[in-house]
């Protein structure tokens, strides 16, 4: 809670109490007022809390299941809860009947001989036993289903660490980290004013969700890097500890597209509450597209390319366009250079290019600069014609080459990868 809100609350309560005194003049027991003050304060607080729309929303049952296992658990729970509720009603009907009927104040006389009955005791030992067997049968079936992680269509290795998750798609050769994305300004610090109120998916948002295809058997290999964690996504029916040094399996087959949230279930230190889980269940086509781009982004090759961009760049960059003196027409080898640059830019969605025009020292510098600009524009147009968005092309100021013996080189336009371009995310 924001400290300011806290202050407001207590002010309101003080105000309530202050008002209550004059409205209850002499005759009111002051010690009674004092005694109820804390309760009035608490009642006021909860009123404020419940009326606050910012924190609305509550659930009273298990969230709608999204896998066959979770559905089985859901109906098992509903069934057993119903049985227990019936037992509860029957047993406590008997108790409350006794409580109201066999009261001394109603003249009930104790039946001191009713203190043993083998028959009754056999009955109330046998009936619960039979009920338990009836519960155990469907539960057994579900356990055997849960434990059968065979024939997966996709295997994901889940590695927990303090405090986040790593998902490794071994078949596609990439892995990535999934961390809380709720800003700390929303979480706040004890005793400090929170700069931002919690909103939306507070504590349930992650930067990179796990993505799986709908209707496919997904096998999870769960482990941990440090301490024990729990990969818990209620709607998928999975709550599996990740134990350092050991790999445990679990599986699910999502029966619908959607986003399913979960959190770490086993206490794992300071930020136990701040390592949520998000599973995006997508259609097969969307999943395939995601897997393809993720492979580029996160596979070993993709990450190497991102971490060491030099070799990839030498092929297409820096490209030198050597113009003839005084001309703006593209040189003869320009097509090839442009095509190489366009290919690279299409493969690297994040990459941007800089275009720099150079001039020699001969002639009017102003005219030379104009010439360099026009040449650079020509290159830009060629790139745009190749399908590169203008936003990815950065035009630089023309520069004058000094001390160069080669006039042709001095009249060049240079195309380089923008150094400000974000490298593919690497961890």
């Amino acid at each position: 809670m924001k400290a300011s809100t806290m202050t407001n609350n207590s002010n309101q309560i003080d105000a309530n109490l202050a008002n209550s005194c004059p409205s209850n003049p002499v005759g009111e027991n002051p010690s009674l007022t004092r005694a109820i003050a804390p309760f009035a304060a608490l009642a006021g607080l909860v009123g404020i809390q419940l009326s606050s729309t910012a924190y609305a929303g509550y659930e009273v049952n298990i969230a709608p299941p999204a896998t066959s296992i979770a559905s089985q658990i859901y109906s098992l729970h509903l069934g057993i809860l119903t049985v227990c509720a019936v037992i509860f009603v029957v047993v406590f009907s008997a108790m409350f009947y006794s409580v109201f009927k066999f009261r001394k104040s109603k003249g009930a006389k104790p039946d001191v001989n009713f203190h043993e009955s083998t028959l009754i005791e056999i009955i109330w030992t046998t009936i619960p036993f039979i009920i338990l067997i009836a519960m155990a049968v469907p539960a057994t079936k579900t356990i055997l289903d849960m434990k059968d992680a065979s024939n997966p269509d996709l295997t994901i290795k889940v590695t927990a660490y303090q405090w986040g998750w790593n998902y490794e798609y071994s078949q596609d050769g990439f892995n990535f980290y999934s961390n809380l994305s709720t800003p700390w300004s929303q979480i706040g610090q004890p005793g400090e004013v929170r700069t931002e109120q919690p909103k939306g998916d507070y504590l349930l948002e992650v930067d990179n969700p796990m993505v799986v295809p709908v209707g496919k058997r997904v096998k999870l290999l769960v482990t941990s890097n440090d301490v024990i964690h729990g990969w818990y996504v209620p709607q998928l029916g999975i709550n599996q500890y990740g134990i350092p040094g050991f790999i445990k399996d679990a599986w699910f087959k999502a029966d619908r597209v959607g986003t399913f949230k979960g959190q770490c279930s086993q206490i794992c230190g300071k930020l136990h509450g701040y390592m949520p889980i998000t599973v995006d269940v997508k259609s097969e086509a969307e999943y395939a597209a995601w897997a393809k781009s993720s492979k580029v982004k996160w596979s070993k090759e993709g990450m190497e390319a991102a971490a060491a961009p030099v070799p990839a760049v030498t092929a297409a960059f820096p490209a030198k366009f050597l113009f003839e003196s005084g001309k703006v027409t593209l040189p003869t080898d320009a097509d090839k250079l442009i095509a190489a640059a366009v290919d690279h830019l299409k493969a690297n969605a994040d990459a941007k290019v800089d275009i720099s025009g150079f001039t020699d020292k001969t002639g009017n510098p102003v005219k030379n600069a104009e010439l360099a600009k026009d040449r650079a524009k020509a290159i830009r147009e060629a790139l745009k014609a190749g399908g590169i968005a203008e936003g990815r092309i950065n035009m630089k100021k023309p520069e004058t080459i000094t001390g160069s013996s080669n006039d042709e080189d001095a009249r060049r336009v240079e195309l380089t990868l923008s150094t400000a371009a974000p490298a593919a995310t690497s961890k």
């Binding site: 658990i73 409580v99 006389k109 001191v112 009955s117 029916g237 279930s265 086993q266 300071k270």
Partner: protein, 550 residues
């Protein structure tokens, strides 16, 4: 000694000239350091547990205050973890267990017609051991890194990461374990060897019976806990790898050992409560306990079953299906003897002639609310459902229904029932009733919404939570403060007046109505307050072993 109502020298003090001379304890505080009297020690245990109860309660209220709203407002998450950890350890090992030992000290010798406990000096020692343990626990909040924050289950490797406070917690548990083991040996020896002639095992009061079984459970499992935490200690400091996979160990092994202790521990905390219920309900129904023999057998079967169900705390570690099935079936089985107990209590009320003084109110409240916890326990025993709910607030609700509404309500019931015997003063009935209703309502306001939180998937031991859990958390927090105030009320308006001797003088048997029907048992055969020494010569008992023959 103040009340020298006897001529014979103490049999138990024969090796101690000092006791011979003064016939008992020195005056003042020193009396408490040296006392070997079961009644003094019982009182000390009860005071200790009351202090621990309020300390643990204060931690619970800090927890609930932090959880009043989403976000971090009052404590850092690591402090929150320390609070949940120490709250649990203090309540289990500091409040509930010593409170039952206090009851045992006071009542077992009185109930079986013995002069004192079998090992009075060890009795004193097992009490005083708890003080350094408590100091270690509380001091651990003030060392670098703060108190242990691994949860009371102390799972490695998290606990290995902890600072010096972890070692302090481990030592505290070692000491408390030693104290419990000595207490149990004392109780077993007393019950088996010091019963008055005619007090056969199957005539013993149920409270004594349940304690006999509980004491065996404690002797069986406290050393297991000591072993587990000693292995933690050597993993931390001496380079062993019991629980470190890199060295050939297995963190799961700790869980197995811990819960082999931990599950019987649950029954250590509840079986004496069953005993108290089985004494109070017949008294106020004015009818003998229904199915005494089956109550004894049910208690024993619960105790035996408690050794083979530990795996249900570990359904989510990924044990093979055969293991899950075994532990599920065994756990479900516990519902049978537990059900027998509940049915027997209700059958005791059936065709009785009931009155509802405070002990009986707490007893009926116990059956009602404890059974809710029992039924959610049955739901949790089903492994697939447990997978869904493990480590959520559903489990928190479940064990608070059995530990607060179970053990704690039984302790309150027992306090109202036996405090006239201990103090010679009747409590104020109106205040007792206020305490009961206030506690019952605020307890349910606190813990019932936690079922919903758990079903909706809120994990436990979270200092902060997503928005959809906000409303029920707010309600639970308010309920918790009301519950806390109810216990302050109990202390200020019920316990303190009794200590100061304010109130009506208690009769020798305050639970005996005008027709002579009511509480049965040897503790009601001695005056109120019970004299410093009772049954110094074995009493002559009637055929039911409930009355002393003149």
């Amino acid at each position: 000694m103040a009340s020298s109502t006897h001529a014979n020298p103490h049999a138990h003090a024969g090796d101690h000239a000092h006791d011979h001379d003064h016939h008992g304890a020195p005056a003042g505080l020193a009396k408490y350091f040296t006392t070997t009297n079961h009644k003094d020690i019982g009182t000390m245990y009860l005071w200790f547990s009351l202090v621990m109860f309020f300390a643990g309660g204060a931690m619970a209220l800090l927890i609930r205050a932090e959880l009043f709203q989403p976000g971090l407002q009052i404590v850092q998450p690591e402090v929150f973890n320390s609070l949940t950890t120490v709250h649990a350890i203090v309540m289990i090992f500091g409040a509930v267990m010593p409170a039952f030992v206090g009851f045992a000290n006071w009542l077992i010798p009185l109930q079986i017609g013995a002069a004192d406990m079998a090992f009075p000096r060890m009795n004193n020692w097992s009490f005083w051991l708890m003080i350094p343990a408590a100091i270690l626990l509380f001091a651990s909040f003030f060392v670098p890194g703060g108190a242990a924050g691994s949860g009371w289950t102390l799972y490695p490797p998290l606990v290995i990461q902890g600072g010096i406070s972890t070692d302090m917690t481990i030592f505290a548990l070692h000491i408390l374990g030693a104290s419990s083991i000595m207490g149990s040996i004392n109780i077993i020896t007393t019950i088996l060897n010091m019963r008055a002639p005619g007090m056969t095992l199957m005539r013993m009061p149920m409270f004594t019976w349940t304690w006999l079984i509980t004491a065996y459970l404690m002797i069986a499992v406290m050393p297991v806990l000591a072993g587990a935490i000693t292995m933690l200690l050597t993993d931390r400091h001496f380079g062993t790898s019991f629980f470190n996979a890199a060295g050939g160990g297995d963190p799961t092994m700790f869980m197995h050992i811990f819960w082999f202790f931990g599950h019987p521990e649950v029954y250590i905390l509840i079986l004496p409560a069953f005993g108290i219920m089985s004494q109070i309900i017949p008294t106020f129904a004015r009818k003998p306990l229904f199915g005494y023999a089956s109550m004894v057998y049910a208690t024993a079967s619960i105790a035996l079953l408690s050794f083979i169900v530990w795996g249900h705390h570990m359904f989510t570690v990924g044990m093979p299906s055969a293991g899950q099935l075994f532990f599920m079936y065994a756990t479900m089985l516990i519902a049978v003897p537990t059900g027998v107990k509940v049915f027997n209590w209700i059958a005791t009320m059936w065709r009785g002639s009931m009155t509802f003084e405070t002990p009986m109110l707490f007893a009926v409240g116990f059956i009602f609310v404890f059974t809710i916890g029992g039924l959610t326990g049955v739901i949790l025993s089903v492994a697939p459902i447990d997978t869904q709910l493990q480590d959520t607030y559903y489990v928190v609700a479940n064990f608070h229904y059995v530990l607060v509404a179970g053990s704690l309500y039984a302790l309150f019931a027992g306090y109202y029932y036996w405090s006239p015997k201990w103090s010679g003063v009747m409590y104020n009935e109106t205040r007792g009733k206020i305490h009961f209703w206030w506690s019952l309502i605020s307890f349910n306001v606190t813990f019932f919404p936690m079922h919903f939180l758990g079903l909706a998937g809120m994990p436990r031991r979270y200092a902060d939570y997503p928005m959809q859990f906000a409303d029920f958390n707010a309600i639970a927090s308010v309920g918790a403060f009301f519950f806390g105030f109810a216990q302050v009320y109990f202390f200020v308006f019920v316990v303190v007046p009794t200590m100061r001797g304010k109130g009506a003088k208690a009769a020798q048997n305050p639970w005996c109505d005008e027709g002579g029907v009511g509480a049965e048992g040897l503790e009601w055969q001695v005056p109120s307050p019970a004299p410093f020494h009772t049954f110094e010569t074995p009493p002559k008992l009637d055929s039911t072993a409930t009355r002393v023959l003149a």
